[in-house]
């Protein structure tokens, strides 16, 4: 039972993190730190990433073909690895948003938990 709860918790965390990353990258390419700051800002600090939660997930999403990363060096800046949303990621974002919308609706009708 405990393991089951942990798995559900992990899946929800991972699912919400994937949605958050895909959503911010849908607005344009960003490097890892920008991704984490953008998500933190847009969720008013509700979603925060540390290194262990952000980069392994980015690498996993890159491996699945949802994202593409490339090193770039802006004028006067440091060399950075920028992530872009690939077609596969865009395709994945649509059902992911719908799944989470349905989940919040279901929770809302069940327990009065409403999303923003």
């Amino acid at each position: 039972m405990k393991e089951c709860e942990t798995n559900i918790g992990n899946q929800i965390k991972r699912g919400s993190a994937e949605l958050a990353i895909l959503s911010v990258l849908a607005e344009g390419p960003l490097h890892g730190y920008e991704i984490s700051k953008r998500i933190e800002r847009q969720t008013q600090g509700a979603l925060r990433f540390n290194l262990a939660s952000l980069y392994p997930l980015l690498y996993r999403m890159e491996r699945r073909g949802w994202l593409k990363a490339a090193w770039e060096e802006p004028a006067g800046g440091r060399r950075r690895r920028y992530y872009r949303l690939e077609e596969e990621g865009k395709r994945r974002l649509v059902p992911l948003r719908e799944e989470w919308r349905q989940l919040f609706q279901a929770l809302d009708s069940l327990a009065g938990v409403s999303h923003a």
């Binding site: 490097h31 730190y33 290194l51």
Partner: protein, 229 residues
């Protein structure tokens, strides 16, 4: 300014990736730490507080390393098995099947049947096929080793033809057993044992004889996770 690359490198320890990929990961994490540090300083924190704040984002380096390895693992292992097991294994199966098929054409040398049992059952030996198996085993083991296969992958790649030969009869054995017991009131243990010996044990031994030199040689390849994610 702290040396962020060194902090990231020491925190992660050695990663099981190629050097270029490892350097990329370390540089990316170092950039992130430096951004955290710079942001904190800009917000008015002291350098010591900013350093502490940046390091707290990577408090658990072990977990970070495990997660990075895990993110790469699935695909890497799949590619590794294809290269070191399934491709060499398919090669040994195709070659051994081709030789056996050639020996079954009418003008080919007839197989030698040893220890005939109940008229038609015996230990069937295709000598020329058996003689070809060490060469085929050597090819499979060499291929697997060349692709970076460990002893287990080499042995499996070499053994696939013999496993394929006896796998189907073994699956059918319960049905044969029931049929023989009901219709012939006999227990087909000896025919089954001869079948396993003739098509499993002896060919396997021949394959392994050829593969042996490539089992002994040092692994030329790398660990399954030793490629980039």
């Amino acid at each position: 300014m702290p040396d962020w690359r060194e902090i990231a490198r020491q925190g992660l320890g050695p990663l099981p990736f190629e050097a270029d990929r490892e350097n990329e990961i370390i540089l990316e994490l170092a950039n992130h730490l430096e951004d955290l540090y710079s942001d904190s300083v800009r917000r008015g924190k002291s350098e010591a507080e900013a350093l502490q704040s940046a390091l707290s984002a990577a408090a658990d380096w072990d977990k970070l390393r495990r997660e990075i390895e895990f993110a790469a693992k699935e695909e890497v292992i799949m590619n590794y098995r294809v290269k070191t097991l399934w491709l060499p294994g398919a090669c040994t199966i195709v070659l051994s099947s081709m030789v056996l098929r050639l020996l079954q054409i009418p003008s080919a040398p007839v197989p030698r049947v040893l220890w005939p049992w109940w008229n038609s059952t015996g230990l069937v030996i295709y000598w020329w096929w058996l003689l070809s198996l060490p060469v085929i085993g050597a090819i499979g083991a060499y291929w697997s080793r060349h692709a970076g296969g460990r002893l287990m992958e080499r042995a499996m790649a070499v053994s696939l033809p013999a496993l394929g030969m006896v796998g189907l009869p073994l699956l059918a054995f319960p049905f044969v057993l029931v049929r023989d017991l009901i219709h012939y009131q006999r227990f087909p243990l000896v025919p089954m044992a001869l079948l396993l010996l003739g098509w499993g044990v002896v060919p396997e031994a021949a394959l392994l004889v050829g593969a042996l030199p490539f089992f002994r040689a040092a692994t030329s390849g790398s660990h399954p996770a030793a490629t980039s994610p």
